[in-house]
Structure formats: structure tokens, C-alpha cells
């Protein structure tokens, strides 16, 4: 947690880095200092050793000179040897004992010569005796024989004087008379002074000194245990030369000293002794190490202090950054309303704070914008969805089955490429015998196309009753669509009118894809002449194509969304594939089978390529006349009318139409037929009136077709009904009024030469009578 803050991390790194640098420098300094200190120590120790060597030499020289002088003097004054010895002994305290021994004469009869030996006794007095009277004659002993050959004097091996319990060393010098040694002067030198000299040397702390004799044995040593012992081989090897030497030994011979030692030695002139000064290496560096440790400690303390200062400074400097980091987390959560640290500073942190504040404001604005855009987008999407629903609502159901006698069946499918599209289909019963059907495709796609499609479909429905034929409808529709069509949008439309009694189909096309007739043999393209597209040219004409549908035949209408459906390679589905696909449908297939087959094949062809255009398919199957309509033909004679009325009533009775409805139908038919017979043929010609009855389970529909003069009963004025017919001057118009009132619905159309009146009676009819 602590290490997460930049301040503590930086302080730590500074501390670590500085420590490293400090240690490196320290080590470098230490090594340099060590070399210097070592050199210094070498010089000092060498000087010390040399001076000690000189001192020892001086003492030895005194002994040697005294002995040599004695030898010289005694050579001529043998008799006064003892007093000389005594005087010398008194003068030189380093000498413990002096002996002047002489070689006995060659004749054995002569008494051995007086050979005095003077030595100090414990109380400091001098004692003397004659060595020639000793039990063991000296002249055969080694020290005497060796001494005779030392005319210049030589140091013997140290020995332990048993009589005096001291370590002694002899200096022998031959007494020469007439060129030949006649005896020797032997000086016993105590080594105590040597120890004293070594002990009083101004040695560095922990150092010790020693003196080695010519054989490599310790003559003297600060550690008395080593006196008389042999020096270590490594030491002896180094000390073999006569030069002053300094050598480093990994292990000291002295058990009192641990670790490596430096040995400084100096030869003592006149002897073959060597003085050695041993300084433990640890001792040499002790001072510098202490100083180094102290420096390190102080340095570390200083660094700690620096680190602390850095920590505090950075903490203080970065405090606003911490707050900014905290605020940035707010921003991440979408909370933009917060306090920022004051921005009086002009450094990076100050600038960062200002930028942060600015960013916060910009972000807030941006978020607002974004939210607004999102709302706008959502609103558009929702509007588009509503538009989609409305457009779907404009289309009739995808399935229509002729409810009256199931002569025909219709299936349709519309699949917009976008939410809304420009394709359309529509169908409706124009009258009980005629079924209008159309399929169209508006140029362009999307909302403009959808609006144009809505206009087209609405206009078509509104104009159809007036137009009555596909040709008229397309003309009327074209005129309406041309009006105010500044954007020059257009629609191709295929329009069909099916006579639901006969299966006769009248087609007219405004630049639309030709329909396909399926069901008997191979699918057949009905490629008839089409007019111009709707909405561009006001004076367009639309030729009609007549086609009689046979039982089981299906007329397939479609838009170019089918033929121009493209796969990944921009290859179009085309009319050949369309015909091929439809040929696969078995002849007795249901109407929906054609749609499913073709759509499925197109989907497989397109695979996962995007749908580029709206797709519309409409299949209309004619199931043929299953039952012949009840039709009564009436000549334009009154008697014929009533015979016909009786037949009608009989037929209705056979169809189980209830009696009240039967009498309603009879009343209406009588009124209308009598009216037609009386007024329809003023020129006296004989006419033909057809009455077609469609008795249904819920309604009875009656068609009245006559070839008389045009007469629309719906247009005749309502008679004045004062409440008593006897009050009326002219008793006319009652029949038409009765007929209109009793009929549930009445529709009049005038074809080329005939009046067509459609009447509908709905069960129960009791309500209709009062209206």
C-alpha cells in the first residue's frame, strides 16, 4: 500500500541508488586507502625493524668488540686474563660470563693452562673458576674446537645454561699468537636484553617482534613460548635473502594472532640473525575500516534524510495528482460534478489540473451531445418502427381465401430490405363477383418509397370502385400520382381483376414485371404489352390482357426483388431461375407452396449476401367453379317476373333460407323487377334480366343484372312519407324506398350496356326493417 505511492517509490529508489553509488565510491576509496595505508605501514614497519636491528647490532657489536679486544690483549698477557675478564664483565652488563680458555700443551705432562671463567652470580658479584680443572676437559668439546677456528669471532648457538637457568648465547673469538690460535675468548651473552629491546620497540598495536638466528630458530620472540622453536618454512624461505623484506603470510605462526599478517624483517649486521616485525593485517586496516564504517553510517543517515525529504517533497508536490487520480475515477463512473484542487500553481501539476477541469467540462458537453444524439437515434428508430407497423397495416393479410365459395385463394409475402420499403401488394373484393389484386414496386427505397407506396395503395383502393377495370384504375391512379410529383418518383404496378364466378382475369401493367402462370405444364411468363410506369406521364394508356384461369392454375405476381436478388458475385437470380424454381412445385401444391419454394430458392441463391431490394410475392390460385350459381333469367314481362320470383323463393327455400328473409328478398326483387320491367325498356324492346342468388350461411347476396336503360335506385329521391299514404297525391317511389330500406347493402354499377345491382341481406333482418 505504501509502495503504491509515487513519492514513496521514488524516495526508495533514490535511497537505493544513492546507497549503491555511496557503497561503490566507499569501496573504491577503501581500496585506494588500503593500498596507501599498507604502503605507509610497510615503510613504518620497515623503518622500525631497521632501527631495532641497528640497536641490537650496536649491543652485539659492543660484545663482539669487547671479546675481540680481550682476545687481542690476552694473547700477549695470558696471566692477567682473569682481571681483564673481570673488568670487561663489569663494564659490559650484556655479558653474563667471560672465559679465556687455552689450548693445553702438546705434552701430556704439562698441567693444563689456567683458563679462567668469570661470571655474574645472582647477587651481582662476579665469581671465577678455572675451567681447566673441570672434570670434563673443555679442549675436546665442540664449542672450544669451533671457537679456535673463529679468528674473527663467531656467534654460537644459543643454549640453556643449566647452572644459571638462562638462555645464553656464546660469542667466541680465537686468541691468536704468532698466527696460530692458542685459545679462545668465550663470552656468554644473556638474551634478556634482546627481549627487552623487542619489548620496548614502539610497535603498532597488536604487532610483535622476533629475532631469528642463522638456523631459523627464534632467538627471541614477544611470545616467549616460541623462543627456541623453528620459524615457519614460508617465513624462512622469504627471509633467506639478506635484504630487508616485507611479506604477507596468510597465517601467523604466533597462536596469539589470528588472520593474515605482514612480516617485516631486517638483517642484523655482524650476525646472521634477522629481526622480524609481525603486524596483523586486520590491525593495519582497523583504523581505515572504522573510518569507513563511520562514513558509511553517516552517509546512510544522510541518505535516509534525503530520502525522507524527497518523500515529503514529492508527496506535497503530487498531492493534487492524487486528488486528480481520485477525480479521474469519478469521471470513469460518469460523475462529472466534483471539486478540483485549486490551480494557483503554474507547474505541470497546475496545467494538468486546468486541463483536467477543461476536459471535465468538454466531456460533460460531449456526454450531453451523445445522450441527445442517442435520444434522437432512439426516437428515429421508434418512428421507423411505427412507420414499419403502419406500412404493414396498410397491407392486407398474407392469406385470403374466398369465403363465399372458396373459388380462389391468395397468398402473399412482402419482405422489406429496410425497416420500410417501397413494395406493395393489395387485394380486395370490388363486388361479390370481382376481386382486385395488385402488386407494385416504387422506385427507390426507404422512407420516400414507403410514403409513395402508402399513397399508391390508398389511392388504388379509393379509385377502384370508380374505375371498375384495371385499365381505368391504372389511368386514374397515374393521373393522381402525376399530380404534384415533383420528385419524379414512380411506381410500377401490375393490376388484375378476377371474375370470381368464371375465373376470367383481366390484367393491366404499368411497367411491372410480367406475371407467371403456373399449374399446368411449365410455368409460363405472361409477357403482354405494358403501359408506362405510374407517376411520370399523364397521357399513358394501359392495355388490358385477358386470361382465363383454369382450375388449379396459379398466377404469380412478383417484384424485381426476386429477379434482381444478387449473390456475392453480383450475379442476379434472373427470370430463368425463377421459372426453374416454380417448375419444381408439384401441380397440386397449395398456393403457399409457390411462395415458400421461390423464396427458399432465392434465399439459398443469395446465401448470406445482404438483401438489396424489397421482395414481394403474390400467388393467386383459381380452384375453379365448384358449384353453379343459382341464376334465374327473367324476360321483361310482368308475368315472367312473378314466375321468376316464385322460382327464386323456391330456390331460397331449398337453400334453407328462413322465411322472413325469403319474403324480404321477394319484396325487394319484386319492387326492383317490376320497376325495371315498367320503366327499363321505354323503347318497347324486349329485355333480359338476370337474377343471381348466392344463398350463404350468414348472408344472401343477390345480383340483378338487366340490359335496360341506366337506372341507379340508390340515386332516386326518398319519397315524402307523411304518415298516411292516402294523403299523398302521387303514390310513386314507394317500391324503391321499400327495396332500399329492406336491403342490408346495395351497390349499383353500370357496365357498358347493363345495370348491375348487388344486394345483400344479412341475418337476422329484423333490425334492418326499422332503419
Amino acid at each position: 500500500m505504501v509502495l503504491r505511492s509515487i513519492a514513496s517509490r521514488m524516495a526508495l529508489w533514490v535511497l537505493a541508488g544513492s546507497t549503491l553509488v555511496l557503497a561503490a565510491i566507499g569501496v573504491l576509496l577503501l581500496s585506494l586507502t588500503r593500498a596507501q595505508i599498507l604502503q605507509h605501514t610497510h615503510r613504518e614497519a620497515a623503518a622500525l625493524a631497521a632501527s631495532a636491528g641497528s640497536e641490537i647490532q650496536a649491543r652485539i657489536d659492543r660484545v663482539a668488540i669487547s671479546a675481540q679486544m680481550l682476545a687481542t690483549i690476552i694473547a700477549t698477557r695470558q696471566d692477567s686474563a682473569e682481571p681483564l675478564l673481570r673488568d670487561t664483565l663489569q663494564a659490559n652488563h650484556d655479558i653474563d660470563g667471560l672465559a679465556a680458555v687455552f689450548r693445553p700443551s702438546s705434552s701430556p705432562v704439562d698441567a693444563p693452562p689456567y683458563s679462567p671463567f668469570v661470571n655474574r652470580v645472582d647477587n651481582g658479584a662476579l665469581a671465577s673458576r678455572d675451567l681447566s680443572s673441570d672434570a670434563r676437559p673443555y679442549w675436546n668439546s665442540n664449542w672450544f674446537l669451533g671457537g679456535l677456528s673463529c679468528s674473527a669471532g663467531c656467534w654460537q648457538r644459543p643454549f640453556l645454561s643449566l647452572s644459571r637457568q638462562r638462555q645464553l648465547i656464546n660469542y667466541s673469538v680465537a686468541i691468536n699468537r704468532e698466527g696460530r690460535p692458542v685459545g679462545i675468548i668465550n663470552a656468554d651473552v644473556t638474551l634478556d636484553w634482546l627481549h627487552q629491546i623487542l619489548g620496548h620497540l614502539d610497535k603498532p598495536e597488536g604487532a610483535y617482534a622476533f629475532v631469528l638466528d642463522s638456523d631459523g630458530d627464534y632467538l627471541a620472540h614477544d611470545n616467549p613460548a616460541l623462543v627456541g622453536k623453528r620459524g615457519a618454512p614460508a617465513l624462512l624461505e622469504v627471509l633467506a635473502s639478506d635484504q630487508a623484506e616485507s611479506v604477507r603470510l596468510p597465517v601467523a605462526q604466533n597462536a596469539q594472532v589470528h588472520g593474515a599478517v605482514w612480516v617485516y624483517s631486517a638483517p642484523i649486521e655482524g650476525t646472521r640473525w634477522r629481526l622480524g616485525l609481525v603486524v596483523p593485517e586486520a590491525q593495519i586496516y582497523a583504523g581505515v575500516r572504522r573510518i569507513f564504517l563511520w562514513s558509511l553510517l553517516l552517509g546512510m543517515l544522510a541518505l535516509l534524510g534525503v530520502a525522507l525529504i524527497i518523500l515529503l517533497t514529492i508527496r506535497r508536490t503530487m498531492a493534487p495528482l492524487g486528488m486528480l487520480a481520485d477525480r479521474a475515477e469519478h469521471v470513469a463512473r460518469g460523475e462529472l460534478d466534483f471539486e478540483l484542487p485549486s490551480t494557483s500553481r503554474h507547474d505541470e501539476v497546475g496545467r494538468l489540473t486546468q486541463s483536467f477541469d477543461q476536459m471535465r467540462h468538454e466531456l460533460a458537453l460531449h456526454l450531453q451531445d451523445l445522450a441527445r444524439v442517442a435520444r434522437e437515434k432512439q426516437r428515429l428508430a421508434s418512428e421507423l418502427e411505427i412507420a414499419h407497423q403502419i406500412q404493414i397495416g396498410l397491407l392486407p393479410s398474407e392469406h385470403y381465401l374466398d369465403a363465399v365459395c372458396a373459388y380462389f385463394e391468395l397468398h402473399a409475402a412482402l419482405r422489406p430490405a429496410r425497416a420500410v420499403g417501397g413494395d406493395l401488394y393489395s387485394y380486395f373484393m370490388l363486388d361479390p363477383e370481382h376481386f382486385f389484386v395488385m402488386v407494385g414496386d416504387v422506385s427507390d427505397k426507404g422512407i420516400p418509397a414507403a410514403l409513395f407506396m402508402a399513397q399508391t395503395i390508398t389511392l388504388a383502393k379509393a379509385l377502384a370502385p370508380r374505375a371498375q377495370t384495371p385499365r381505368n384504375l391504372l389511368q386514374l391512379l397515374n393521373l393522381e400520382l402525376c399530380r404534384g410529383n415533383d420528385s419524379c418518383m414512380f411506381v410500377t404496378l401490375l393490376c388484375g381483376l378476377l371474375d370470381t364466378k368464371s375465373g376470367n382475369l383481366v390484367l393491366a401493367s404499368a411497367g411491372h414485371e410480367p406475371p407467371i402462370l403456373c399449374g399446368h405444364g411449365a410455368p409460363q411468363l405472361l409477357d403482354f404489352t405494358t403501359g408506362a410506369v405510374l407517376g411520370l406521364y399523364e397521357d399513358s394508356d394501359y392495355p388490358e390482357h385477358h386470361q382465363r384461369l383454369r382450375q388449379g392454375e396459379t398466377l404469380l405476381m412478383y417484384t424485381d426483388g426476386i429477379t434482381e436478388a444478387s449473390d456475392h458475385h453480383q450475379q442476379m437470380y434472373g427470370i430463368e431461375r425463377t421459372l426453374g424454381s416454380l417448375a419444381q412445385v408439384p401441380p397440386a401444391a397449395p398456393t403457399a407452396g409457390y411462395i415458400e419454394r421461390l423464396l427458399g430458392d432465392v434465399d439459398r441463391f443469395v446465401a448470406d449476401a445482404a438483401q438489396a431490394d424489397d421482395i414481394t410475392l403474390l400467388a393467386l390460385t383459381w380452384h375453379g367453379a365448384a358449384q353453379v350459381d343459382v341464376e334465374v333469367c327473367v324476360a321483361s314481362q310482368l308475368a315472367d317476373v312473378f314466375a321468376g320470383l316464385d322460382r327464386c323463393e323456391h330456390l331460397l327455400q331449398e337453400a334453407d333460407v328462413i322465411s322472413s328473409l325469403r319474403s324480404d328478398v321477394r319484396l325487394v326483387l319484386e319492387e326492383l323487377l317490376v320497376n325495371t320491367v315498367e320503366y327499363g325498356y321505354p323503347d318497347g324492346r324486349s329485355g333480359q334480366i338476370r337474377v343471381v342468388l348466392h344463398p350463404g350461411p350468414e348472408t344472401v347476396t343477390v345480383e340483378l343484372i338487366d340490359d335496360g336503360i341506366a337506372f341507379d335506385p340508390l340515386q332516386s329521391a326518398c319519397p315524402n312519407l307523411p304518415g298516411d299514404l292516402a294523403d299523398r297525391e302521387q303514390i310513386g317511389g314507394l317500391g324503391i324506398h321499400l327495396a332500399r330500406t329492406v336491403t342490408s347493402a346495395m351497390r349499383y354499377t353500370r357496365n357498358a350496356h347493363s345495370n348491375h345491382l348487388l344486394l345483400r341481406f344479412i341475418y337476422p333482418n329484423q333490425d334492418g326493417s326499422s332503419s
Binding site: F642, P719, G723, L738, S769
Partner: protein, 129 residues
């Protein structure tokens, strides 16, 4: 089914005509002819009661016949009363408002009561005069 007619003079000033069957453009002439014979035999100020119990069907032609009868009766100061119209007839009457409601009776009792009342009025009127 064609038209059937029966007339019965219950009094010199009252004739009951029973009309049955179908009264339409085919048959209304029969009724018109019969009434041309019957009505002059009735006293002035007499009453014609047309019993419609047997009439199944009437069309506008029949209505015109009834209107003619009522017109000529009115000219002779008499009354025309309709008795027992069947549903279809009543419906047609309703649609064209053919006759005043108070001249249509659904039963003989109702008619008799009406006639008695009328008789009294006449008698009282005479005495008043």
C-alpha cells in the same frame, strides 16, 4: 299462392273484407276490382274493415290499393280500419308509414271496442245536433 277475397256486410254501413294470400303487383288488380264493386254498396259514412289475418305478403302495389280504398272511403265520409296485419305486412306498413296507427287493430276485440266507441260518438253527436 294467389290472392283470396271474402266480403261480409255485417250491417248496411259496415263491410268486413278478408284478404288472404299475396297482394303484389300481380294481384292488386283483383282487390281493386272487388272494392270497386263493394264500396258503392256501402252506406255513406260507413266503415270498411279489412281483415289482414290471412295476408302473408304485401308489396308497394298492395299498399297503393289500400291507399286507394282509404281515399275513396274518405271521399264518402267513411272509415277504413285494418285488422290483424301479419309480420311482413306490418313491417312494410311501418317502413312507408302507410296508415295512421290508430286505424290498425291487432284483434277483433280491440276493433269492436273501437267501433262501439265510435258509435257512441256518432249517437251523442246526433243528439247534440
Amino acid at each position: 299462392m294467389t290472392l283470396s277475397l271474402h266480403s261480409n256486410f255485417s250491417a248496411p254501413d259496415r263491410v268486413v273484407v278478408q284478404v288472404g294470400g299475396r297482394l303484389d303487383a300481380m294481384t292488386f288488380g283483383e282487390l281493386d276490382e272487388a272494392m270497386l264493386v263493394l264500396l258503392p254498396r256501402l252506406d255513406v259514412g260507413g266503415t270498411v274493415v279489412i281483415d289482414l289475418a290471412g295476408l302473408e305478403y304485401v308489396s308497394s302495389a298492395g299498399l297503393r290499393s289500400f291507399a286507394k280504398i282509404r281515399k275513396s272511403m274518405r271521399a264518402r265520409g267513411g272509415h277504413t280500419l285494418l285488422l290483424n296485419p301479419q309480420p311482413q305486412v306490418r313491417k312494410v306498413f311501418d317502413i312507408v308509414k302507410a296508415v295512421p296507427v290508430n286505424e290498425v287493430f291487432t284483434s277483433t276485440q280491440e276493433l269492436d271496442a273501437y267501433l262501439d266507441r265510435m258509435q257512441r260518438q256518432i249517437t251523442e253527436g246526433d243528439s247534440d245536433a
